[in-house]
């Protein structure tokens, strides 16, 4: 059916990033809209509400300069689509997929709706392949699995960008073809530059597609940025059968943009003013990671978010944690102790690691060792608070050995250089080395044969 594209020249209302057009017929919910302001300024929008003949459109580039009479609105008869092609590699786009690197537009017949569709749970393949990141704390204790969604919960000023770059540089995502998709929502210019430079220095830039919405870019575009990035990721993963690593940062800015939009639309707020659908909305981003049973390729997703006030119970990290398959939490305390990467091991977790480690995947002792390290380090916290009250000298010998273990754990195991790429065997060996600080009677999470083989062997 060919539809005549009509032009509407008058607006009923302009409010924030929204415009309202009346007396409109034949418009679809979610339809893509082209808005020409004073003949040469072309902007794009999306239908977000139809009420009889009144239509509400949200404008991606913002409404500054728009009056109720200086525009021409066209409804394009299709949703916002992204043109997809292998030529995207090495390029930089804005949040709706327009090139911002001075290059030409991507021309392709292959287009996809940026909202994507939910993966059918029966079509999913359960992720089991270990990705070695070379970062001990991650590899041993919150193992990253190919196809997993594992966010970094950080705070302002902590080393999350450095950690993300180290993971990108060191992760053995695939021996052959791999793609890195980088989506930036509301990040500062220098942060975006840092990522670009790091990709350049490590020579992976040809494998990277960047979608940038910086801190001073319009917020409506910010809301579509992760969706555009993941649409590109789905193309490379499930149409081109490559292994894709997606980094999106900062989810906090994203959620704030969503809150701003929600309040402009006059919706009823729930916790801290965020809309009631924040959970469903975040899940339509995070759940796009994964693998398919009958199709090669994978999407591994590492979202980064800064916890407002370092509060893990804030709605953004909280709802994220309920959707993602674990989390890597960074600690202000370790950061101040100059420990890099400042990974807070206890609240961190990888839900998929149980099926992707151990014999046949990493090493037979991995499961027991990880459990023991967690248990022992958790006990260290109790001893530390006790030591603060009664002083270290009054502690028993065993308690003192825990304190020594705690120090070694942080300084030898968690801490490592920005370019130090440890193999999983090295990581596990360091784990055993520091466990030897504790007497054997304290190791209650280890099978006797593991103690014989690994603990005693190094003595």
């Amino acid at each position: 059916m060919i539809r005549l594209i009509k032009e509407y020249l008058k607006l009923e209302k302009v409010e924030g990033p929204l415009i309202m057009v009346s007396d409109v017929t034949d418009v679809a919910y979610g339809e893509f809209v082209k808005i020409t302001v004073e003949q040469d300024d072309v902007r794009f929008g999306k239908v977000i509400k139809i009420d009889g003949n009144d239509v509400v459109v949200q404008v991606f580039e913002g409404t500054t300069g728009i009056s109720t009479q200086n525009i021409a609105v066209q409804f394009m008869g299709k949703p916002l689509e992204l043109a997809l092609s292998l030529d995207m590699l090495g390029r930089t786009f804005n949040g709706v997929g327009k090139p911002i690197d001075g290059g030409i537009n991507i021309a392709s017949r292959h287009k996809a709706n940026i909202n994507g569709r939910p993966i059918n749970p029966v079509a999913r393949k359960y992720p089991r392949n270990f990705i070695q990141t070379g970062v001990s704390a991650i590899d041993a204790l919150m193992t990253l699995i190919r196809g997993q969604k594992l966010p970094i919960f950080s705070g302002n000023g902590m080393a999350h960008n450095e950690l993300a770059v180290q993971i990108v540089n060191q992760a053995n995502i695939d021996d052959g073809e791999f793609v890195i998709i980088f989506g930036a929502m509301g990040v500062r210019h220098d942060d975006a530059d840092y990522f670009r430079k790091s990709f350049e220095t490590s020579g992976v830039l040809d494998h990277v597609v960047m979608f940038l919405n910086l801190a001073d870019d319009p917020i409506v575009e910010r809301i579509s940025t992760p969706r555009t990035a993941l649409t590109a990721a789905e193309y490379f993963a499930f149409d081109q059968h490559m292994h894709v690593l997606v980094i999106i940062t900062d989810m906090t800015s994203y959620a704030e943009a969503l809150r701003e939009m929600s309040s402009i639309r006059g919706e009823i707020p729930s916790r801290k003013g965020y809309p009631g659908y924040l959970y469903s909305d975040l899940s339509t981003i995070y759940e796009r990671a994964g693998m398919l049973e009958n199709t090669e390729g994978s999407i591994t997703l590492i979202p980064i978010l800064t916890m407002p006030n370092d509060d893990i119970t804030h709605p953004i990290p909280d709802l994220t944690g309920f959707i993602t398959e674990g989390q890597i939490v960074l600690s202000r305390e370790l950061n101040q102790k100059q420990i890099y990467p400042p990974i807070a091991v206890l609240p961190s977790l990888s839900r998929l690691m149980k099926d992707g480690i151990g014999e046949g995947y990493t090493r037979e002792d991995h499961v027991d060792l990880a459990n023991q390290l967690f248990a022992a380090y958790s006990h260290v916290q109790d001893i530390r608070s006790l030591a603060q009250i009664i002083g270290e000298d009054d502690l028993s010998d065993i308690d003192r050995s825990y304190l020594a273990f705690g120090r070694a754990f942080e300084n030898k195991f968690v801490a490592q250089g920005h370019h130090e790429n440890r193999s999983i065997a090295e990581t596990l060996d360091i784990g055993w080395e520091i466990l030897r600080i504790l007497p054997i009677s304290e190791l209650d999470r280890l099978a006797p044969e593991m103690i014989d083989k690994y603990y005693k062997a190094g003595e």
Binding site: D51, G52, V122, R124, G276, Y286, T313, L346, I390
Partner: protein, 592 residues
């Protein structure tokens, strides 16, 4: 099939909420198809000529002016053979079937599909012509899976005399196998299936008081906070505390006949994991794959939110249907918070007045309606059966004072609180033994006395008390250290630690430890009790705790969960003897 179907027109689209005009003749809660794509929806508000519809699929691409068409019946599901071992979406559409229509991703507008209509079933017909049948009676059976016999029941409100009967043999879902002359006049054709509106509970003859436990093989549950068949359980916990693993343990090992598992707004990979894992797991009671008794309903977090609201009702209706056959059914809803959030989201779009934290004011009544569909009952057919509901709750920020947790607490009798601190210390299952409770302990007392051991609950009480005392002592220890405490108090700390490590912590991934029989649980408890009493006797005559701890047998207690296989429980009896003897010896030596 529906000649006088009604038609309205779309006037408003706002996310999953659609409004239509010229819909005065539509009924409330009627199922409708929306737009040219024929999306499935349900009428939720009627206002003069206008109607508001909640749509169960993505509404992008709907045009104002497209048709809204009535189906004439409320949101209903098909009940008949073919549910076990299958995975459905929130409105009972089989996900495998959807996958074969559209690979990998879920499309919109697939229409209403449910049970497989082509599949041949070997039907055994049990009635003869002239026989009088009442609602809920069985007129045929189908061996649905090797472990479950599917009894085909007369719909509850129908009774009559059998007019004609086909021979037993192979039939498909819609074949008429029996016709009935209704008492109220007219003829009723019986097939292998019936429809039932999901929002209405299926009737029963009467409720019976709760008296038997749902055995889960999880020590902290069976021994400390038992769950009853026909009971209601809430399982609240922040993220990372192990709600899903605990729900999976319930689904795998509890001694229900049928499991309905609702993945309500949770992760896609978790459902995939169940699909991969359950067919390989063997039910210890039937020696058949667990999948044969399991129905999965998946509305993952990125699937349409309105269907999430419906998924809970779809699940409980399936559970009631199998209950009516005389089975004990357990239903796991993971998570009810997502369901409540779906209510909130839809309520917001309907512009209703919000109550606490944006949730609609009817949240408590909806929760109550859901949990009250659990129960131990007598079916219309005179059998005893039950539905047990285990609802996970995901409190925002792990804070149990939020509305969903608070309101759920009012309607459930067992509360298994998952604790972040325990989870961080990798104490799994991270069920907090101090704030959890079970209202079923008293009701199940007789059952435990008769089937396990007369003193089981007494020892349980003693252990609970020890754990509480430890908590109090810990406050002192944090100030002055443990060594300063008197010996008998140090023993309490030591014993509590042993209870935690050796009994409460249970390894879901360990072959011997993932499921533990009640007898083994009792014997392990007894070992702990004997240790405490023997050690206490030592302490009283002044033997220091460090000496007590050095005894060889003490080291074995923590490891008994791994080292004593479920098949060799006599080893625990040996251990009890050994503890008694070695501490008696220690006392003798010390007295000398």
């Amino acid at each position: 099939m529906n000649e006088n179907r009604l038609e309205g027109k779309i006037t408003l689209v706002n996310g999953p909420v659609v409004q239509g005009s010229s819909m005065g003749a539509f009924k409330l809660n009627e199922m409708v198809t929306v737009g040219n794509k024929q999306l499935i929806g349900e009428v939720v508000i009627l206002d003069g000529d206008k109607a508001t519809i909640q749509v169960y699929e993505e509404t992008e691409g709907l045009y104002a002016g497209e048709a809204i068409v009535s189906t004439g019946s409320p949101l209903s599901i098909s009940l008949g053979p073919g549910m076990l071992g299958n995975m459905f979406d929130g409105i009972q559409r089989p996900l495998h079937k959807i996958e074969s229509i559209s690979p990998n991703f879920i499309p919109e507008g697939i229409g209403l599909i449910s049970l497989d209509e082509q599949k041949p079933w070997e039907v055994n017909i049990l009635v003869t012509a002239g026989q009088v049948l009442h609602g809920g009676e069985v007129y045929a059976t189908v061996q649905e899976t090797e472990s479950i016999l599917h009894k085909i029941l007369l719909p509850p409100h129908i009774s009559g005399t059998v007019a004609s009967v086909k021979d037993s043999g192979v039939y498909t879902l819609h074949d008429v196998i029996v016709t009935l002359n209704l008492d109220s006049g007219g003829i009723y054709e019986l097939t292998l299936m019936q429809k039932w509106p999901v929002r209405r509970g299926r009737p029963v003859a009467q409720r019976i008081p709760i008296y038997k436990p749902l055995i889960t093989g999880q020590r902290v549950i069976d021994t400390f906070f038992p769950v009853a068949k026909g009971g209601t359980v809430a399982l609240p916990g922040g993220f990372g505390t192990g709600k899903t693993v605990t729900q999976h343990q319930f689904a795998k090992w509890s001694d229900a006949d049928i499991i309905v598992y609702i993945g309500c707004g949770e992760r896609g990979n978790e459902m995939t994991n169940v699909l991969e894992e359950f067919p390989q797991l063997i039910d210890p009671r039937t020696n058949r794959p667990l999948m044969e008794r399991t129905i999965l309903i998946a509305n993952t977090s990125n699937m349409p939110v309105a269907a999430r609201e419906a998924s809970i009702y779809t699940g409980i209706t399936m559970a009631e249907y199998y209950r009516d056959m005389g089975y004990d059914v357990a239903i796991m809803a993971d998570s009810t918070s997502r369901w409540a959030e779906a209510l909130r989201e839809i309520s917001g779009r309907l512009e209703e007045m919000p109550a606490e934290e944006g949730y609609p004011a009817y949240l408590p009544s909806r929760l109550a309606q859901f949990y009250e569909r659990a129960g131990c009952i007598e079916t219309l057919n005179g059998d005893e059966a039950s539905v047990t509901i285990i609802g996970a709750v995901s409190p925002a920020g792990g804070d149990f004072s939020e509305p969903v947790t608070e309101n759920t607490k009012r309607f459930v009798s067992a509360f298994l609180a998952l604790d972040k601190k325990l989870a961080y210390a990798r104490h799994y299952p991270a069920i907090n033994y101090l704030i959890s409770y079970s209202g079923y302990v008293k009701l199940l007392e007789d059952w435990y006395k008769e089937h396990v051991a007369p003193d089981m609950l007494d020892i349980r009480g003693k252990m609970v008390k020890l754990l509480q005392e430890e908590e109090k002592l810990n406050e002192i220890v944090q100030l002055i250290g443990e060594d300063v405490l008197p010996n008998d108090q140090q023993l309490i700390l030591e014993t509590a630690r042993t209870i935690k490590k050796g009994f409460l912590q249970q390894n879901a991934l360990h072959k011997e430890d993932t499921y533990v029989s009640l007898t083994k649980q009792y014997k392990m408890l007894k070992v702990l009790d004997i240790f405490y009493e023997s050690a206490l006797a030592c302490v009283k005559i002044g033997i220091p705790l460090s000496t007590i701890r050095k005894e060889e047998v003490y080291q074995q207690i923590v490891k008994m969960k791994y080292e004593v296989p479920n098949s060799q429980l006599y080893l625990l009896d040996d251990m009890m003897e050994e503890i008694k003897q070695s501490y008696a010896k220690l006392r003798d030596k010390y007295v000398e």
